[in-house]
């Protein structure tokens, strides 16, 4: 349940892709500092586990025979 009194912090959109990425890093670092380790690491787990799951899927795919 979200605390209604908790002030939301918004991310400033960047004028360039680089600036936007850096603004997100600041936003995320602030999220880490204002939320429990369990909360941020659950989201990080989702991101990292999905990448590893995809790699495992690819590793299991049979290699197609090459046409000569």
């Amino acid at each position: 349940m979200k605390n209604e009194n908790q002030k939301r912090i918004f991310m400033k959109p960047g004028k360039t892709n680089k600036e936007d990425r850096l603004n997100f890093i600041k936003f995320w670092a602030n999220y880490i500092k204002t939320h429990s380790d369990k909360e941020w690491s659950e989201q990080q787990k989702m991101l990292i586990d999905s990448q590893i799951k995809n790699v495992k899927k690819l590793a299991k795919k049979p290699v197609l025979p090459t046409s000569s």
Partner: protein, 208 residues
């Protein structure tokens, strides 16, 4: 996440361990039985919360004789890790001795993998005296100090991704970073880069 600067410790005891963390902890459990190590570069930022994945995890291991490496390699193979660079231990050890990085992954899955290297100079060697311990729910691991991590990412590696990794640590630990130390390391890095450039130019003219 609590950083106890004086104790050189970061406590993330409530971290929800992901698949990459498990891979790292499994590998290091074997490594630390044989040799001292420090985790460096991208995974340091990821462990400390950066919202990105990676294909490799970099570590320095202390220089060891081939007999010790042989025992380490044997145990890694027993646990299902394989070397991406060669099969024969003499060849793999030769790469390390030549200051080249060797890679290990789990059961023929090249990603994620561990990039293992010997320190190549005094600056690398000093990482072993400039580390912090990260405390996880059931394990501990050694990473390079925050200042060293920032300095190498910002002034040696320098890509967008590396600068973002440094920014993440700077933002997350704002007010706790020793920028005098970062600047001292920056000077040493600058000197190393100049040496590397000189060597590379000399090599170019000698072989060209």
């Amino acid at each position: 996440m609590e950083y106890h600067k004086e104790k050189k410790e970061i406590n993330i005891k409530s971290k929800v361990i992901n698949e990459l963390d498990k891979f790292v902890l499994d590998f290091l459990k074997i490594v630390q039985k044989h040799v001292d190590y420090v985790v460096i570069s991208g995974y340091v930022s990821i462990l400390l919360g950066r919202s990105r994945a990676t294909e490799d995890v970099d570590i320095f291991i202390k220089k060891i004789p081939i007999e010790v490496f042989s025992k380490l390699y044997k145990e890694l193979k027993e646990y299902g890790f394989w070397c991406l660079n060669a099969e024969k231990e003499e060849e793999i050890y030769g790469f390390l001795k030549d200051s080249l990085a060797i890679r290990f992954s789990f059961e023929e899955m090249p990603v994620p993998n561990f990039e293992v290297k010997f320190p190549k100079d005094e600056l690398d060697e000093s990482t072993f005296n400039d580390f912090i311990t990260v405390i996880l729910p059931e394990n501990k691991l050694k990473i390079s100090s925050l200042e060293r991590h920032i300095a190498f990412k910002r002034y040696y590696l320098e890509s967008d991704k590396d600068v973002e990794d440094a920014s993440h640590v700077e933002e997350t630990f704002k007010g706790k970073i020793d920028y005098n130390k970062v600047n001292k390391l920056k000077e040493l890095i600058k000197k190393r880069k100049e040496d590397e450039k000189r060597k590379s130019e000399k090599n170019f003219y000698e072989t060209g």
